[in-house]
């Protein structure tokens, strides 16, 4: 069984290995047959050329900026809302929570046409905010956090109230630190999905300077012509950041996916 698993694991890595191998070949040898992992020499020319062409760094920055901002806003907005729903009482709370829960049913993809028209009217096409804002109010995340906050013992907060702390302070100094695991899960999940998002950034950015990495790459692929080594060098550069993040935060990511994936139901 160990052998079978190992064969499968290696087979699974072959496409990535092939991309990497291709990126290290001299451009003229990328399409040679039969199967040949290493060309006549190993060269980093393709990497030098795509990096010198200039756009990759810009797109990398855009993607990182958009992903970090989206993650910060999503965690803050959703945690505050979830706390409000889980721990406070006011007129209309149940109705509002019902409206938010109903939003879980709405796939953002069905809103692309009206959302784009709205972005045009607001003047947000080709801006960072145009990419970020539609991604930050996620009803499923509110649901996950409400379930978690409901499990935090009320006594902890009550003790703080008696000592004279206000709501705001209790939320930031007691509830948020206690919720670190679930907040990390939400943050990691948001970060991965924002980093990899294609459809919305693809629609809302037309200026190559404002594109995210995946959108930019797809946009210029035809200008690579038949330069396969350069194409694969770009693919490696674009794929690497999250793979590094994965190696560093493996345990949290594994737990986060399992957590949000199941709790999403």
């Amino acid at each position: 069984m160990l052998v079978a698993a190992a064969v499968l694991a290696v087979a699974w890595l072959l496409p990535l290995a092939w991309a990497f191998a291709t990126s290290l070949k001299p451009e003229g040898e990328t399409t040679r047959t039969p199967l040949e992992w290493i060309g006549s020499k190993i060269t980093f020319d393709a990497y030098r050329q795509v990096w010198a062409a200039g756009d990759l760094g810009r797109w990398l920055f855009n993607t990182a900026y958009i992903s970090v901002m989206t993650t910060l806003l999503t965690v803050t907005l959703c945690a505050m809302a979830a706390y409000g729903f889980a721990r406070t009482d006011f007129r209309g709370r149940k109705v509002l929570y019902g409206i938010v829960l109903a939003g879980i049913m709405v796939p953002p993809q069905v809103l692309i046409a009206p959302l784009f028209a709205e972005m045009l009217q607001l003047g947000l096409v080709d801006t960072y905010w145009g990419v970020i804002l539609p991604q930050v109010a996620v009803p499923a995340m509110v649901f996950i956090l409400v379930k978690f906050f409901e499990g935090v013992p009320r006594e902890l907060e009550e003790a703080a109230f008696v000592d004279g702390a206000g709501r705001w302070r209790v939320f930031w100094t007691i509830v948020m630190p206690l919720s670190r695991p679930v907040l990390a899960a939400v943050a990691i999940f948001t970060f991965i999905s924002t980093w990899n998002n294609f459809l919305w950034p693809f629609l809302v950015t037309t200026d190559p300077n404002g594109m995210t990495l995946p959108v930019g790459l797809v946009n210029v692929q035809t200008s690579y012509g038949l330069r396969y080594a350069q194409m694969m060098a770009s693919v490696v550069i674009a794929g690497l950041p999250l793979l590094i993040v994965f190696v560093l935060f493996q345990r949290q990511i594994v737990r986060g996916v399992a957590h949000t994936g199941l709790a999403g139901q």
């Binding site: 890595l13 069905v110 028209a117 709205e118 294609f198 995946p214 793979l243 994936g261």
Partner: protein
């Protein structure tokens, strides 16, 4: 300021306790809306408003800017239901969902069982099977389009050739294979997510069940059939639901790898929405097609809810 500051004398402990309790209770109910307001604002602007304005658009002849159109009632919907492109791209979407869900769920389960039972080099299984899920769809699409699936010199053809099979398959250019190739790439790319959900489920099965079974003389095969698989039923339900809903929303990899071709044979419904609204400039019509797609998703969700309830009752 706290309620206790109003108490002057220590001689009245009972009176001091009462306002304190009231104060605590009041703190539970104040400021609730302030916590929710920022979320609600963004939610209303970028989910509820487009959802509502989209309905208005779908009833108009709006162009891309959402302005200058006239109210035309249900004409867009009537046209969409008569449009063979809507039906074919709807079918492509459903066909992709059927083709991709079965291997994605089964492979995810098998890979998780392998990783769980081996209990060694866990990092290797996670890295190999989960890492592709972390790649952006743009990267996956370009990888398969440019170096894996090209005929003859592509990696897939060369791999087959090294086993003495006939290469020269039009993986993405032949109508017979294009959809299957997209499914193949999608399974490779996304199975890691299901793998992790199954792995988490396996790790939460109580160990004493296996110990008891072993004492009763159950072999490895029986433990798998009688304990592991039944304990995975709930997870399988969740994985199937998540997978079907994810597969129905396919767009990225098709757009990048085949552009919907050859001859629109792989074009999913979301791509048709994109074409109608963003390259055909008929955003009213695109909205109408979106809502027909939305209806499909809601129907699928309701059917699955029904099925999972029935399953839940049976297993009780």
């Amino acid at each position: 300021m706290t309620a206790t500051t109003t108490v002057a004398a220590p001689a009245a402990p009972d009176e001091a306790a009462a306002p304190r309790a009231v104060g605590v209770r009041r703190r539970w109910t104040e400021h609730g809306l302030l916590f929710i307001a920022p979320f609600l604002l963004v939610y209303a602007l970028f989910l509820i408003w487009p959802l509502a304005s989209g309905v208005g658009m779908s009833l108009s002849s709006d162009n891309i800017s959402g302005a200058g159109g006239e109210f035309i009632g249900f004409d867009n919907y009537a046209e969409a239901l008569r449009d063979p492109n809507v039906w074919s791209s709807m079918w492509n979407t459903v066909w992709f969902t059927i083709l991709s869900t079965v291997p994605l769920v089964l492979t995810g389960m098998v890979l998780a069982l392998l990783a769980h039972h081996l209990r060694v080099v866990q990092w290797l299984w996670r890295l190999s099977w989960f890492a592709p899920f972390l790649l952006p769809s743009g990267v996956v699409g370009l990888l398969f389009l440019w170096v894996i699936f090209p005929s003859d010199f592509g990696f897939a053809d060369q791999l087959l050739a090294s086993f003495g099979l006939h290469p020269g398959i039009g993986w993405l250019t032949d109508e017979r294979y294009a959809m299957l190739s997209i499914v193949l790439a999608t399974v490779w790319w996304t199975v890691g997510f299901n793998f992790l959900l199954y792995l988490a489920a396996l790790q939460s099965i109580p160990q004493h069940l296996y110990e008891a079974a072993e004492l009763d003389g159950a072999g490895a095969r029986q433990r798998l059939l009688r304990i592991t698989l039944p304990m995975l039923r709930r997870t399988t339900g969740v994985v199937v639901v998540l997978q079907v809903l994810a597969s129905l929303k396919i767009f990225d990899q098709v757009y990048i790898m085949t552009g919907g071709g050859p001859d629109a044979s792989t074009r999913p419904i979301l791509q048709y929405v994109y074409q109608a609204g963003f390259t055909g400039y008929r955003i009213g019509y695109a909205s109408a097609v979106s809502y027909i797609f939305f209806a499909l998703i809601v129907i699928v969700s309701l059917v699955q809810l029904r099925l999972s309830r029935r399953n839940g009752e049976e297993s009780k």
